[in-house]
Structure formats: structure tokens, C-alpha cells
Amino acid sequence: MTSVRRRRVFAAAATGAALALVLTACGGNDDPEPGATGDGDGGDADCAAYEQYGDLSGKTVTVYTSIVSPEDQPHIDSYKPFEECTGATISYEGSKEFEAQLLVRLEAGSAPDIAYIPQPGLLQTIVQDYPDTIVPASEGTSANVDEFFSPSWKTYGSVDGTFYAAPLGANVKSFVWYSPKQFEANGYDIPETWDDLIALSDKIVADHGADGAKPWCAGIGSGDATGWPATDWLEDMVLRTAGGDVYDKWITNDVKFNDPQIATALEKVGEILRNPDYVNGGLGDVSSIAATTFQDGGLPILAEDGKDPLCYMHRQASFYAANWPAGTNVAEDGDVFAFYFPGLDAGTRPVLGGGEFVAAFSDRPEVAAFQAFLASPEWANAKAVSTPNGGWVSANSGLDPKNLVSPIDQLSATILGDTTQEFRFDASDLMPAAVGAGSFWTQMTAWIAEGKSDADVLDAIQASWP
């Protein structure tokens, strides 16, 4: 009996030792925080702008976002001046399941301090369903946004007149990617109007159709968000055929999905996306658009040396810059670049875009300070500097364009800063989730993959409006 018991104690001890080893191994050596203790006043003149936040040594702010590798590292790097000057620690967590998981965390009472919300519609859901978790934007944040952002950006971060979330990054979606080299070699000009665009497409069919190339390539696959690039097409087109006022009413469903004005826009999108002569260069027929991931959708524009490309144009947002293979020269005279997706005539130049918004779920001073910092020009410039490969811009007017190194980011910043161009936020991101993250995606996918008729698609989306 005693021997049995002794053996048990040994077994317990051995298990315990193993467990402890595992735990300590998991703990890892924490890198000493740069300047976490007493380094803040090390004669660093740059810290002047950070004095307003006070001394936050030993405080931690948790950030939860949808931005994952490789785009997360520039974000983490951009917090360094804040961490060094205030002594606070920023703990960054990115998740591909962000949209679903954030709500689960709010429901469970384990909200992050700060979340980057990519859809104003989601912000509305949070304010309506979990009003006790989210806190209105801090005073410093509000002041920064008033000073450095246009009023419309502030409204995207507001719900029922209360300002919650400050704009962070921005992107321009009204872009058509093309190969400047190929356009030059073939003598193609950048189209200025919709008719030019169609004429160019026809010309490409005539020139290269016999070699199997098509003017357009596209991909709308994106896991369970499949279909969103197609919704962007329709949004861009509604802006062009019906205008900004109808667009705003469409978001609130005062203009219905099966309204003739929306139907006209969808028909125009179909002139390209469902035209078997125009798509899907190098990737297959019309339905292959649904099976191609959006990341792969534009790659046939690049041709191997000595070969002709299988595709010439790809409509996708500025952030598509990150998807070109390493070594691709993204510039006006390089391998690929983007031109503005033209309007019906050269005079109307609406812009479709998107962005993320910083919401706070705690009113601790360090959280308020960090939220204000993210809305400041200091952060926007730090982020631009820490993103040498491009693919990021902000609507912050304090952002120095010189800090943006990539030509496509410079172009995006110019378009975002141009007040003569009517800017509209991505409509599906503003609609209720049942439509904007549901039927709008799935029905546009069915429109492509199954050839469902325009009327059926629009009726089905309208029927699902909550």
C-alpha cells in the first residue's frame, strides 16, 4: 500500500514537473520593452507631441483588429513612438474572424480596449445591441477628427448623432489595375469615360481575342465573404449611373434594391462582368469569377517574359497593391498600375472607398489617449513611414504625402484629398449585416456563378432587408 502511494506521489511530481516545464517554455523571454522605464525623457525631441498624453508607464492597451500578417507588422511598428514616449504598452491581436469574434467577445464581457472596425454597419450593430460596452470617442479623439478629417468621415464613425469611432486607414475602390507596359506596347490610352472603357475593351477583344486573351479578369472568392468584390462593382456603378443622392437613399433602403435605377446600374455591371467576350482573362468563363479568389483575380495581367498577358484590366481597390508578387514594379511606368474607374462622362468623377474605424470599449485614460493618438497626424505619418511597400493611406489631412513612398498610395491620397470628386463610403459596409454581409454577397455570387437574372437577384436582396 505504502509503495503504491509513494509511486503515485512520484507520478504526480513527475507530471507536475513536466507541466511546469511546458508552462515556463510557453512563457518565453519577454523582450525588454524599448524605453519602457525612464527612457522617455532621453532627450528625444520627437516626444514633444506626446506630452499631452501624460505618463502612461506600466499601462497596457489591448487592440483587436481584422488586420493580419503581413499587414499587421507596419501597424505594430507605428505604435513605437507612442510606446516610447508615454511608456504604455500596446498589445496587438489580429484575427481573420474579427467581425464574428468581436461580437462574441462583447457578448461574453471580454471586450478589447480598442477595436478597428472595418464596417460602419458593424459599429451600428454594436451601438444598438451592446450599448453598455462601447464608449463614445474621447475628447482628444474628437478634437483630432474635427481638425484633421472631413465631416463625412466623422459621420461614418457616428451613430444617432453620437461620435464613437475615429477613422484610421482609408482606401480607394474606384481603381482599374492595368499594365502600363502592355498599354504602351499596344498603343492603348487610359479611358476617360465609360464609352471609352467599353471601346477599349472591344479593341482588346479584336486585337488579342484570337490569342485567348480577354480585356477583363476578376475574382470574387473570399471564403465566407465571397461576393464582396462584386458588390463593389455595383456600388461604383450606382454612383455613376444614379448619383450620390440615390446612393445615400439606397444605403437606407429608401431607394429599394429592385428600383429601376439600381437595376440600370446592375445591367451596366453585367455589360462587363457577365459578358463572355470580356471575361475572365486567363481564368475561364463568366462563372469562374466566382471560383477565383479576389487575391488571384488580377494576376493574369502580369505576363511571363516574352508572352502576351491573358488579361488587361482588373477593377479592384488600392489595397490590391499588396497582392502583386514580390518584385512587381507598381508604378505609372512599371509592371502594373491603376487608373481611375471612369464615370459616364469625363466630368462626373465619383469615388468609392472604404476604411477602418477605431472604437474604444473602455474609458481608462490610456485607452482614450491611444484612441486620440490614432486620430493624430503623428500616427498617420508614423504609419506611412512604417509601410515602405505601400498599400496604405489615410484620409487624415495632417498626413504628409512625402511620407507615402509608393506611387499608388500617392495617387490614392490625391484622390481622397480632392474635394471636387464626390466621395462615398462602401455601401455594403453601411447596410445591415443581413444584407451587407449576407444576401448582397450571396446573391451577387449567384448572379455570377449561376447566371441568375438581374431582376431575381435584386428582388431576393430586397426581400432579405430586415
Binding site: A12, A20, L23, T24, L103, G212, G227, G284, D285, E450
Partner: protein, 334 residues
């Protein structure tokens, strides 16, 4: 004492390790000591001690959420009571009818196909020369996660067009195994995952690929366990080949067959990973378990999501009941 929570140096970590070991030994010692003491308690107290944690865990982790889910299924997303509206929507709306149809196809095809393939394989390789190797081969997919398997098969099904009138060197590279085979035979490559309703069957292949190994393992063991005297007696009576299979093998392993079919049927009802990874529920391939997630967490239709979860729950119940009754009957015979 800050180092207890944030051990930085190796020395601190070693001390921390010793502390952790001591704490673990203390707790385990206490438990072992207590179990020795338990023997002197009346049996009903022992029973209560052992049953309480299980009852609490089941109550808190299973019964309570189940009741909450059922309750939620009668409310809409704004929290208003809507009676059976969510269920009506789940059974009448076109898109959910497709979901229910697909679920039915899955739950019929996967268990039957996996079991049939597993059984056939088990019989064929039983006592064959390469038995171990052959069994490993079909058992290996079991070790791959459903998501991993889905990604593998996504590559198998990958589609690139064959362009007409274009020389071979300018053709896009076929990256999918299945379509490359078609091209070798001079056929047109197909979009396996897009064309409904066939695409559901191409997803089912993935599940069968995984579950056939499970069926084969259990059934092979059951076949081995058939008493040799029965087999010999049957053989002396002139039974052989397919009739041996029909009249001796299958009846002898019937309990194992039931377990395999019902287990696979339950796993199939819960299939989520394959649908999500391969099609995202698009192209008419969604199933109840995936649509429930989509409605609850992506579209925030919590009531409708809960209703779908309840439907799934109701669908599983008969299989579980049948399984339990079969096991009870098998025990009675024994």
C-alpha cells in the same frame, strides 16, 4: 513577488518551476489523500461526490445552453417574440430548402458510401499479404483535419481553362489534378465546385475519403473477431465468396456496422469545416450546420440561427436514440 508572474531570467524561471511542481504535488497529494479517506464514507456520499461535478458540467455546459438556444429560436434579432416564424422561414424560404436538401443528401450518402467502401476494403485486405500497409493507406486521411483535407481537395478540383486556338505553351497551367487528368484524356476541364447540384457530391467525396478509414478500422476488427468455428462450419456447409459475406460476415458484424453508420451520420450532420473551406456555402452547397453559423455570427440573425441549431439537434436525436437502443440490445444478447 512580481517575478512570480513575469519570470524573466533563467534563475527565476527555475525557481518558478520548482514552485509550480511543489504546488502540483500538494494539490495531487490532497486529492489522493481525500480518495483514501472516501472509502470510510457511506456509498451514497461517494456517489454524490462523483456525480456532482458531472451533473454541474452537463447542466452548465449542455442543458443550459440548449434551453437558451431553444428559447432564442422564438425571438427575432431585435429581441421581439415571433413564435414559430423562424422555423417557418427555415422550412419555407428557397435558400433554406436548398440547405435542408443538401443536408439530407449528405446524411444519406456519406454514411452509406463510407461504410460500404470501408467494409469492402476490410474484407478484401483481410489476411492479404500487404494488409498492414493497405490499411495504413486508407487510414491516413483520418489523421488529417477536415480543414486540411478540404484544402488538399480544393487543389485537386482547381480549375484553369483550356483556351481555344491557343498554342500549348501559352495555355494557363492546369494546377488541379482532376482537371489535368481530363485534359490528358482530351476532355474539357470542369468547374467542379461551381456546378450545382453535382458540387455537393464533390464535397461529399472529401468526407467519405476521411470517414472510410474509420469505417474500415472498426469493421476490420469486427471481422477478425468472428469466431473461426462459425466460419469453418459455414465453409464445410459449402458457403463461399459473396454468400459467405452475405450470410456470415455481415450478420456477425451487425452491431459494429450500426455503430459505424450512426457515428458517421452524426459526424456528417455536424459537417461545417468542409463546406466553409471549399465553397463558403456558396453555389448551393450550404448545409444546416454551416448556415446556422452564418446566420448567428455573420449576419446576426440569432433567432434564425438558433432555429437552425434546434433543427439540427432534432435531426440528431433519432440517430442517437437508435444507436443507444442497438447498444443496449447488443449488451442483452451478451
Amino acid at each position: 513577488m512580481d517575478w512570480l508572474l513575469h519570470a524573466d531570467t533563467t534563475g527565476e524561471k527555475l525557481v518558478l518551476m520548482v514552485v509550480a511542481v511543489l504546488m502540483f504535488v500538494a494539490v495531487m497529494g490532497l486529492i489522493l489523500f481525500a480518495t483514501d479517506r472516501i472509502r470510510s464514507l457511506p456509498p451514497w456520499v461517494v456517489g454524490v461526490i462523483f456525480v456532482t461535478p458531472v451533473v454541474l458540467a452537463l447542466g452548465f455546459g449542455l442543458v443550459y445552453p440548449a434551453i437558451e438556444t431553444i428559447k432564442e429560436s422564438f425571438y427575432d434579432r431585435s429581441g421581439a417574440f415571433v413564435g414559430l416564424d423562424n422555423y417557418v422561414a427555415a422550412f419555407t424560404r428557397d435558400e433554406f430548402q436548398v440547405v435542408l436538401r443538401n443536408t439530407a443528401v449528405w446524411v444519406v450518402v456519406v454514411p452509406l458510401a463510407s461504410t460500404a467502401i470501408g467494409l469492402l476494403y476490410a474484407v478484401l485486405v483481410d489476411r492479404a499479404r500487404f494488409e498492414k500497409f493497405a490499411k495504413t493507406l486508407i487510414f491516413l486521411p483520418m489523421a488529417i483535419s477536415l480543414v486540411g483535407a478540404s484544402i488538399i481537395w480544393k487543389f485537386v478540383y482547381a480549375y484553369r481553362p483550356v483556351l481555344e486556338g491557343v498554342p500549348a505553351e501559352n495555355q494557363p497551367n492546369q494546377i488541379g489534378l482532376l482537371n489535368q487528368m481530363l485534359v490528358w484524356f482530351g476532355l474539357e476541364p470542369q468547374q467542379w465546385l461551381i456546378n450545382s447540384p453535382a458540387n455537393t457530391y464533390f464535397l461529399i467525396v472529401v468526407m467519405v475519403w476521411i470517414q472510410a478509414g474509420f469505417a474500415m478500422t472498426i469493421l476490420a476488427a469486427a471481422i477478425r473477431a468472428i469466431p473461426t468455428d462459425i466460419v469453418e462450419a459455414a465453409r464445410l456447409d459449402g458457403l463461399g465468396g459473396t454468400r459467405m459475406f452475405r450470410y456470415i460476415t455481415v450478420p456477425s458484424i451487425r452491431p459494429a456496422l450500426v455503430v459505424v453508420i450512426t457515428t458517421i451520420a452524426m459526424a456528417t450532420l455536424k459537417v461545417f469545416d468542409i463546406v466553409r473551406t471549399m465553397t463558403g456555402g456558396n453555389f448551393n452547397t450550404s448545409v444546416v450546420s454551416y448556415e446556422f453559423y452564418r446566420q448567428s455570427f455573420v449576419q446576426r440573425n440569432t433567432g434564425l440561427g438558433a432555429a437552425l441549431a434546434v433543427i439540427l439537434f432534432v435531426l440528431v436525436i433519432p440517430i442517437v436514440v437508435y444507436n443507444v437502443r442497438q447498444m443496449r440490445r447488443a449488451e442483452e444478447i451478451r
